[in-house]
Amino acid sequence: MAQITCIDATLGYEDGVVTEGLSFTVETGDCLCILGENGSGKSTLVKALLGLKPVLRGKIERDPALTGIGYLPQQTVVQRDFPASVREIVRSGCLARMGLRPFYSAEDKALADRTMEQLGIASLAGHCYRDLSGGQQQRVLLARALCATRSMLLLDEPVTGLDPKAQIDLYELIAKLNRDGITIIMVTHDVNAAVRYASHILHIGGGKQRFFGTVDAYKESSIGKAFLAEGGA
């Protein structure tokens, strides 16, 4: 069933429309890749999907059963030099369930441990975040997102700044999570990775939606062919 339905949505700021005519659905278990050049409105769409930013026109409906979206933001400068242990960061994913209780419950701690185990970072639990490699840091943030929710992950340019080997490892990990039933929405400008790992593609550019459909349909479309040729596939 549809977890997110976007109906003719227009996104932008007070002083202008960034992109319009967005219509797409995200079903449970999908892996949707959002493609587009810089400035095409990808990050605005991310904020709208997270509910941090209202749409100007149209609407974005979230299935009431969708408890939350695990978000993997782009790394900030602050984080790269942050003195916190991996365990502290992963546990902070449980924060929304804490309410006014000033400490984590035993279940939350166990969930954080299991998630670190699942993503292969259990041995790093006591290490300092700033001492990790880029790929390890992304795994930590992924674990934190999984502690927040297991229904949907929204990844914003997850492989930026990683070396090629770490990029492939991270993509494989994301694909594995997707096979385990977690819906994935991934923003990227890596078209080759998108057609390899996604089930659906949403391509935005030039202030509007250029394509939405399955990967196979995208490969056959004129925009997909042009973009893939450009991407060096």
Binding site: F82, A84, S92, L100, H127, S133
Partner: protein
């Protein structure tokens, strides 16, 4: 041993020495707790800016002859803190410029007011003691101590209750908002506590040196420790020890309290810095 004997005598015989210790250590503890967050959020200069605002407000309070200066200094500083921390996004004037504008503006207006409407013959003395801390920490009344204890208790309680939220908001605001933690609310909490700490700390080290009290212990601890909790604990220990050492030295050698404490903080920072170079920061 003679110095130690003198000190013990002071401590036993003069209540104001005990008050100074109590207030000094509490302020140092509170300042160091928030220091880590402010440094990591790249807000180090907000402490500085706010303290200048507090200076301006203090001048207004002095000129209007209010007996209870807190009544005007605290609300003004709180308001500025909220405004400054809100300027992160969606404003025409960016964060650092806003801080510079408000802080220098308040400083200038405060100094002008003190000169236009002098309340005592010794203006430069008044200004100097507001800027660099005065001996007022050694002239505290019981009621001042009570106010300070209550404020410190509020800061500590809020910090302990919202420790995890403060950590998460410091580390990653957008993630917090995405999972439904109200990051704005906790930013506001951080702003309010910062303002309270600055108003408190003005008594101890004066408005120009407050930032030092906030950032040095945090920076020292961050050199060496690797988890947020250990950084916070280490930073508060450093801050309290330095405040104690500073107050003792200033009593023994008649040096200014504020700058002696800050000097102690600087010495500790250098020590931690050298330690971090020796043990090497990159492991894994």
């Amino acid at each position: 041993m003679n110095g130690l004997q003198t000190l013990v005598d002071y401590f036993v015989n003069y209540p104001f020495v005990r008050y100074a210790f109590a207030v000094g250590l509490l302020i140092a503890l509170c300042a160091s707790l928030l220091g880590v967050t402010l440094v990591l959020k790249r807000f180090s200069f907000i402490g500085d800016g706010l303290s200048h605002v507090a200076f301006g407000a203090m001048a207004v309070a002095a000129v209007t002859g209010l007996t209870n200066r807190m009544a005007i200094v605290l609300p003004v500083t709180l308001l500025s803190a909220v405004l400054l921390l809100r300027t992160g996004k969606n404003t025409k004037i960016k964060g650092d410029a806003a801080v510079a504008m408000i802080s220098v503006g308040a400083l200038a207006i405060g100094y002008m007011l003190m000169n236009l409407f002098p309340t005592s013959a010794n203006i430069s003395g008044d200004v100097c003691s507001t800027l660099f801390g005065s001996t007022s920490i050694l002239t505290l009344q019981k009621s001042d101590v009570a106010v300070c204890v209550v404020m410190a208790a509020i800061v500590l309680t809020v910090f302990v209750l919202f420790y995890h939220q403060i950590f998460a908001v410091t580390f990653d605001e957008s993630f917090c908002s995405a999972i439904g933690v109200r990051a704005n609310v906790y930013n506001l909490v951080i702003a309010v506590i910062t303002a309270i700490i600055i108003v408190l700390a003005m008594n101890l080290v004066g408005s120009l040196l407050i930032s030092a009290l906030i950032i040095f212990p945090a920076l020292s601890a961050m050199r060496v420790f690797k988890s947020f909790l250990s950084v916070i604990i280490c930073s508060s220990v450093i801050s309290v020890v330095c405040a104690a050492v500073g107050i003792v030295l200033s009593i023994l050698f008649s040096t200014p309290v504020g700058s002696t404490i800050v000097t102690a903080d600087i010495v500790v920072f250098l020590g931690f810095w050298i330690t971090s170079v020796i043990i090497g920061r990159t492991r894994v």
